[in-house]
Amino acid sequence: MDYRHSDPVKAEVVPATAKILIAGGFGVGKTTLVGAISEIRPLSTEEVLSDRSIGIDDTSGADRKTTTTVAMDFGRITFRTDLTLYLFGTPGQERFWFMWDELAYGAVGAVVLADTRRLADCFAAVDYFEHRATPFLVAVNCFDGAPSHQPEDVQIALDLDPDTPVVLCDARQRDSVKKVLIALVRHAITTSRANPEYQGKPLPAG
């Protein structure tokens, strides 16, 4: 397994890590999904953003320079001591997209969580992952009382590539979430065979 690392001197095994992104509109259940399968309560850390990354034109000089932070939720699943999978909930709003490049870099793939009552909320995420050629699937979160739709209808409504899987799920149920992740990784394996060069687009320098 040559992606693992070992220190030839100390024979120290450093765990291999992988990540999956959980995207979708505000309030669609991303944190619920992460919490349903994570071995830890979803944790939060923050990314520091400078004015430059926000894109605000600040002409008033360095003394007015401010920094804002965005909370990132993440969960963790340790399969064996030497492989850990991280699940990152992506910030829900378009203004935080520059963070997605970092999150998507080297990712196994992404789950776009959708609510059929507000399907338009996930257009942006679908566009993003299609444009980036990141393997993704759409998981329709079947809330109580939400109108049920066939996956085919969702596929048409989102104008998805026919190869992009659409699955139904209950983001509160561990087994359901597990099936979603398995479907995603299978899809990523198929995609990776079709396009062996894909490993996540590199980050811009700096």
Binding site: M1, D2, Y3, H5, E12, V14, P15, A16, T17, A18, K19, F26, L43, S44, T45, E46, E47, V48, L49, S50, I54, I56, K65, T66, T67, T68, T69, V70, A71, M72, F74, R76, I77, F79, R80, L83, T84, L85, Y86, F88, P91, Q93, R95, E102, Y105, G106, V108, K178, I182, V185, A188, I189, S192, P196, Y198, Q199, G200, L203, A205, G206
Partner: protein, 125 residues
């Protein structure tokens, strides 16, 4: 419930603060010293720091959490500092030779093997 779209500084954006004093105002590591969110860091045992190394309290606190290999996001969460700040401090420590950063190598063959291991792992959950 939808967040207001015309304001940057709402609840989801988090608090607006001055650049962190602990990083001397730096909001990003030096170019070329990128540390990924799930990269694993580990303290170098018995490292001799350069004489001009300036470690502050947070540098030392970070190091004390890195005796066992730990990912950058876990570290940031454990010590309750924003991951952006942690990455700046980690790049300092790496420069001083006090810390090793191990990025999971990316390549078509290793990537597919990693995918298979993730699949196996999920199936046996």
């Amino acid at each position: 419930m939808s967040a207001p779209r015309d304001r940057w500084l709402d609840r989801e954006a988090g608090p607006i603060v001055r650049p962190y004093a602990v990083t001397k105002g730096r909001t990003a590591p030096a170019p070329g010293s990128y540390v990924g969110l799930i990269d694993v860091v580990t303290a170098v045992a018995g490292a001799r720091l350069p004489t001009d190394a300036r470690l502050n309290r947070d540098h030392r606190r970070l190091l004390s959490y890195c005796h066992q290999p730990i990912t950058v996001v876990d570290l940031a969460s454990d010590i309750d500092l924003p991951v952006g700040v942690v990455r700046v401090l980690l790049s300092d420590l790496r420069q001083y030779g006090a810390l090793r950063v191990v990025a999971t190598p990316r390549g078509p063959a290793t990537h597919e093997r990693l995918l298979r291991d993730v699949l196996d792992g999920l199936q046996t959950l």
